[in-house]
């Protein structure tokens, strides 16, 4: 763990303040509005980075059949798609009944 991050975490723990969430790369903040546990689109938070990156590449090239994902994936370069995959792989899946943990 990097010292600055560790310090922020320790301070956050001690004063109980809300820390900023990880900043999603361009485009990634909309994924969770469809992809969720129990939805037909399936949850993708926390899935392996390589698996998400491969899916996005296949949607982009049209190899993998899709409804909207082929149309969306074509809007992102390979580099942007990799950043999205890396970000999503680091997210924890939301609980099925609520998107945020309660205090």
């Amino acid at each position: 763990m990097r010292p600055a991050v560790l310090a922020a975490w320790l301070l956050a723990g001690s004063v109980g303040m809300v820390l900023a969430r990880e900043r999603p790369p361009p485009g990634a903040s909309s994924c969770a509005e469809c992809h969720a546990e129990g939805a037909a689109m399936g949850a993708i938070d926390g899935r392996p980075e390589a698996e998400i990156a491969a899916a996005l590449a296949e949607y982009r090239s049209g190899v993998r059949p899709a409804s909207v994902m082929s149309r969306i994936a074509r809007g992102f370069s390979e580099e942007e798609s990799r950043a999205i995959a890396a970000y999503l792989s680091r997210q924890r899946p939301a609980a099925p009944e609520t998107s945020q943990e309660r205090p």
Partner: protein, 416 residues
Amino acid sequence: MSRTRRAFLATGAAFALGRPALAQAAAKVVVIGGGFGGATAARALHGGGLDVTLVEVNSTYVSCPFSNEVIAGLQPMAAQRFGYEGLARAGIRVVHAAATGIDADARRVTLADGTARTYDRLVLSPGIDLRFDAIPGYDAAAVDRMPHAWKAGEQTLLLARQLAAMPEGGTVVLAVPGNPYRCPPGPYERASLIAHVLKTTKPRAKLILLDAKDTFSKQRLFQSGWKALYPTQLEYVPLAEGGQVTAVDPDAMIVRTDFSDYKADVACIIPPQRAGRIAAVAGVADRSGWCPIDPVTFESRLVPGIHVIGDAAIAGAMPKSAFSANAQAKVCADAVIDLLAGRAPETPKLINTCYSLVAPGYGISIAGVYHPAGGVLADVEGAGGISPVDASMALREQEALHAADWYRTITRQVFG
């Protein structure tokens, strides 16, 4: 343990920390409007460590997405209603009062109860106001006879009741405005589902769809569906064939165009619109009635320190949809966090996806990806588009299922 802290422990990755610096008070952001845009913005700003107040006059939100299904009796009204307890539970201060004044120089919002709130930055997500000065005869009183049902709630239920009570062989007239307006494919989904009701319960009845334009969202998909499903129920009248409504007479139930007078048993008039009233009060709406914004930060082009998201904003190629409002809210929140921390906001990319039902189990979609270009939000070339026109019924069924699941997921994310 919070999600954020787990993520820190799990990865040790670098995170952008928003304000506040630990020793000083958090910067204050007021969000006005608790719909898909405002509620999402409040959550994202709060998640960024800011002191957030969400100002929303109503204690219950009624969702427009899926309200066409309520009109057609396919979904209960209860599935459209959302409270603000979820936001309050997340630690967001929710104030149920109307915002009546904005002093952009003093950075202060005045509420109807006489109290005031100061802000470092203000986010407006006021949705739309209906223009009761646009169609002669269609004033605020006319909506009791000729519902617009374009703000979900009592109007939705009124139109549903009118349709259910309509005599066999009756005529429904549905009037659609010119661009821009909330939910571009919405009127055509409404026409589809009303035609479905007529076909299944009053087969001799008819729907006349009067349009103030000649082209519309997902047009080929809707029209091929109409041809297959509702050949005798639905008559489409585009602008070129006299589709523009020039006046209405609510007492006589007559809808006028330059070409004909239509006598209606049920008339749904969707009038032209503008940004919600508080936008004009704040001075962020231009002569069009909508709000010009910077495509990176959603900050008003007219008044610094005020950001506008959702239907009220002029978002270039992005349609006025709940999905767009939600995406814009997150981008705007990140920009607000950056600006308050003295950082330059990142250049965003935004996504929109809109599903419509042509019939129960028959879904179609449009999607787009957008980026700032030439000072506006422009389509990313090569991306986006509509469902295939020649798709199998299996895909239509899948998209209907995706529509329902999107609605369940986004409302849980925003209000849950």
